[in-house]
Amino acid sequence: MKFIDEFRDKEIAESLIHRIQKTSTHSIQLMEVCGTHTVSIFRYGIRGILPEYIKLISGPGCPVCVTPNGDIDLAIALSRQEEVIITTFGDMMRVPGSTSSLQKEKAEGRDIRIIYSSLEALKIAKEHPEKKVVFLAIGFETTSPTIAVAILRAKEEKLHNLFFLNSQKRVPPALVALLQSKRVKIDGFILPGHVSTIIGTNPYQFIAKEFGRPAVITGFEPLDILQGIWMLIKQIEENRAAVEIQYRRVVHEEGNPVALKKIDEVFEKDEGRWRGLGLIPDSGYCFKESYKEMDVRNFEVEVEPPQEHPECLCGEVLQGIKSPLECLLFKKVCHPENPIGPCMVSIEGTCFTYFKFY
């Protein structure tokens, strides 16, 4: 497949590893922010072929993992209302809320449907005018414009039965929080390629300018990741700090202005609640006035206060402060078939990834 297979070439991969080994002289810790990078790194076994002194730590870029328990509980409470159809991306099905999950509720007969695109939620709302269709709007800036389009269309077509449970997040403010907290040593950032397709390079400049760390916007094929790592190492060795683009075939400095405009029409920045990281200013969105009627948080729903397992370490794992191996529940109680926290559910979750290795 074009633009995929060429970036999986074995010989080039081997030569990149070789270069990385020759170029790097320090022991360094690089954070890969994006969950899709975590998956790709795991899928190709990249950790195992990098030299030992280059450590990759996973950041909080797994939107499934950082969705607060309370939002899942709300989705579950909504699904229990007769007239509600819940529509969601597949990623959210198995995430445990305080006492249940969407998958379990579906087994109890609730109308919960997996969709591949926000536009399908629109379609379902049109097909069921008698129902209230709720779409779980979870994701980062890659997905936000697609949600904005669905909202704009719903408004245009005067659809009154489509609602959104807004749990979207913005990546750059979370990076600020991580860098400010200083709890984890990060020598460089592997930045999310597809988020950057939308937002471009500007939102990341503070990483280099204020915090003096190199950052490379990287694609997801193995050669992209290896080249991105090499570019970071080069900066570190040359004592530079800049935001560079490895993923040039789809990331431009200005991002995607059309997409950014759509987000801007519908949303404004707001504080975001991140599981494990708490409240981070500007890291979420809220609806602009004309679209507030689609916010499902206006519904009258009884939701019990969220509970988290006291021993669950997902929060610290998400920040790269602790490893799953330090969690008392890891493997003994918490495993893919019985996940206690989201880091074990999501295929991008650090705990899930570790479970496979240890």
Partner: protein, 72 residues
């Protein structure tokens, strides 16, 4: 985040393109990427084209990687 896959634009009708990925055909919204022609490649995420794939940049990246491989 997030899953994005390059696909080839086969047909366009208003703001929807028929895009092909390995022989699999999908209707993809061009709302976020309106300036696209048949034969070009787009990056697909949740049923939307979110950016055109710049073939020249892709070639340049690969060329650079191949040169690096030869030099090692």
């Amino acid at each position: 985040m997030c899953l994005g896959v390059p696909g080839k634009v086969i047909e366009i009708e208003k703001n929807v393109a028929k895009v092909e990925v390995g022989g699999f055909l999908r209707d993809i919204s061009l709302d976020l990427c309106p300036d696209v022609s048949i034969g070009e490649y787009v990056l697909i995420h949740t049923g939307f084209a979110i950016q055109k794939v710049d073939e020249k940049e892709a070639e340049e990246t690969l060329d650079l990687l191949k040169k690096m491989a030869e030099a090692v």
